[in-house]
């Protein structure tokens, strides 16, 4: 059954990647931005028309779109995403190094927001209707409307400017080779961006957990447990949590899309050299191969999160396994 599910997932992924690759290729092709001009930049005046035509011919810009697409996609199947001119590296190399940097940030934010959000959701759910619940709900609803980048700026003003506790930018101290950066320095530079993404990410999981817990606490088995002398906290600990942890984990895995989007904003605010910043640079400086590469990578990233969420459900929850068609 697991194999069937995997086959289905892989087919689904293939169809999505194929469609997204076609759509994004069409989108970058209709762009009025001249790729040669974007590549050469200010020196555009210095090159002659003949030189420009030569570059265009070499890049195959004047060929019809489908011919270019087929060429690009064939290379893609061979694992070659082209060359990024803003980093002067292979796109695959840029994505892998940048993602490694972003992974620290996203993982930290993901874990912190998941755990804090879950705990806050439980507290809010158990105490629902009380002042604490209202406070937590107010916090969550407020945060759900807060622009991520503004939250980052507020933290920056507060902790880096006024208090001077945290660094102003980047993922590593300036002037130190990447090999010599210590683990502590990495964490030190990670605190604010990760806090930004966590603070925003908490809202969703808190509200979701709260609602689920309230539903569970209203069921008969909880009423039975309480009538036997169990306290509400005890009932939550022994019966509530095991009923809500699975949906919470699923929600958290399904939030990869927001996490990636949030990293674009947080990394811009903190000048954190990760994949989000690379996405912004690729868009701003018209680095088409890099932009396309990142689009496909982000599809893969979101898909991974959703698939893990589905798999956990199937593997862990025996009810779904039993109910699934053989």
């Amino acid at each position: 059954m697991i194999r069937q599910l995997l086959v289905k997932k892989v087919t689904h992924l293939a169809s999505i990647v194929l469609s997204i690759s076609v759509i994004s290729f069409m989108l970058v092709s209709v762009s009025p931005i001249d790729p040669v001009r974007a590549y050469i930049g200010a020196d555009m005046l210095a090159i002659s028309r003949a030189q420009k035509e030569k570059i265009e011919e070499r890049w195959g810009i004047n060929e019809p779109m489908h011919v270019r697409y087929v060429k690009w996609f064939t290379e893609l199947l061979h694992g070659n995403l082209g060359h990024s001119f803003i980093f002067n590296q292979k796109v695959t190399k840029v994505i892998s190094t940048r993602f490694a940097t972003s992974l620290w940030l996203m993982a930290a934010a993901w874990v912190i927001s998941g755990m804090l959000g879950f705990v806050m959701g439980i507290v809010s759910g158990v105490m629902h209707g009380t002042f604490v619940d209202k406070l937590i709900r107010f916090y969550a609803y407020m945060l759900a409307s807060t622009p991520t980048f503004w939250m980052g700026m507020l933290l920056l003003i507060c902790f880096s400017m006024w208090l001077g506790w945290t660094p102003i930018c980047c993922a590593t101290p300036p002037g130190i080779l990447l090999e010599n950066v210590t683990f502590g320095q990495r964490i030190y530079h990670l605190i604010l961006p990760a806090a930004t993404l966590s603070i925003i990410g908490i809202a969703n999981i808190t509200l979701h957990t709260r609602q689920k817990l309230i539903d569970v606490l209203q069921s008969d088995f909880i009423l039975f447990a309480i009538s036997q002398g169990e306290t509400i906290w005890g009932a939550t600990r022994h019966h509530g949590i095991r009923n809500i942890i699975l949906p919470a984990i699923t929600i958290q895995f399904a939030s990869f899309s927001e996490l990636f989007g949030g990293s674009l904003l947080a990394e811009t605010v903190f000048a954190y050299p990760g994949l989000g910043q690379a996405t912004v640079l690729a868009g701003l400086k018209s680095d088409v191969p890099l932009l396309l590469g990142i689009v496909l990578f982000s599809v893969f990233f979101v898909f991974t999160g959703n698939t893990i969420a589905d798999l956990i459900y199937t593997l862990v929850d025996p009810r779904i396994k039993a109910g699934a068609p053989k």
Binding site: F149, F260, G261, L291
Partner: protein, 283 residues
């Protein structure tokens, strides 16, 4: 004095009344904001180097920036721009959502399959990455932002409407109407639309916050509106350069105003939902 307190309490106890009052209040604030946007003089947008970097005081209640522009004027203009872009985006996205949601539920089969596949596709890419891509395709600028936020916010609502219509189609009274010989268009106008219109209205208003935040985010990273436009995203991205100088009001106030407006749309949407569907209130 006593009677005043009693009426005040009665109003608070009557949820229906508070709902309607909140709706009116929200609409009044938005109306005020639009009027302010039209009437506020352009003078505040002019550079005035003698009045640079003033912290908030009586004359410039939100302070001035490093070019001596009045922050209140810029923020009011910026919020109005967000309002406009939000309106276009919410209008178009809701239209797409209703059309696709209805088609998906009514025709079923292949049409349904294709529309669900499209929804899947839109949700498989991080929203902001999609916006960057569309903005790039449009060559950047205001056009890119408007197209981007307008065509990417429909999938969630389309799903809701599809589910709603599917559920309605299975209810007995619609099946009876159909068996009694009422035509499809008759069922649609008499039975389906009255249910869909509230969904449409609420869905549209709850789209505003997303659209506005995405517009601000896109402008902030530099893919959106041109640097001369007084937009909140632009103002905040400019203030990034002045964070270290201690001009906190350049960053704190515009963001707080944006948050306020987004929150107001949330409140408006939720209250309208309660208003058109009072059953929820009892729960």
């Amino acid at each position: 004095m006593k009677t005043v307190i009693v009426t005040y309490k009665t109003i608070l106890r009557n949820k229906r009344l508070t709902t309607i009052l909140s709706i009116i209040l929200c609409i009044l604030v938005f109306a005020g904001l639009s009027i302010a946007g039209f009437t506020i003089s352009e003078k505040g947008l002019r550079t005035d180097l003698e009045e640079r970097n003033l912290s908030p005081d009586a004359c410039h209640i939100f302070g001035t920036d490093w070019l001596g522009r009045d922050m209140l004027t810029r923020i009011v203009k910026g919020l109005n721009l967000s309002l406009k872009i939000g309106l276009i985006a919410a209008g178009i996205s809701t239209m797409i959502a209703v059309m696709l949601g209805l088609c998906s539920a009514l025709f079923g089969g292949m049409v349904d399959f294709v529309i669900i596949w499209m929804i899947d596709l839109f949700m498989s890419l991080p929203h902001l990455v999609f916006l960057v891509l569309i903005s790039f395709a449009a060559g950047g600028g205001a056009k890119g932002v408007v197209i981007g936020v307008a065509v990417t916010h429909w999938p969630a609502l389309a799903r809701v409407i599809r589910a709603e219509v599917l559920q309605l189609m299975n209810t007995e009274y619609i099946q009876i109407a159909s068996k009694l010989g009422q035509s499809n268009t008759g069922i649609m106008t008499h039975h389906l639309l009255p249910h869909i219109v509230p969904q449409f209205l609420v869905g549209m208003i709850l789209l505003f916050p997303h659209a506005i935040l995405h517009e601000a985010g896109l402008s902030f990273i530099g893919m959106g509106l041109s640097p001369h436009t007084p937009a909140i995203g632009i103002i905040l991205s400019e203030s990034m350069r002045h964070l270290s100088t201690g001009y906190w009001w350049l960053a704190v106030i515009p963001g707080a105003c944006l948050l306020f407006m987004v929150k107001l749309f949330d409140i408006l949407g939720e209250n309208i939902r309660d208003w058109v569907n009072p059953k929820i209130l009892r729960g």
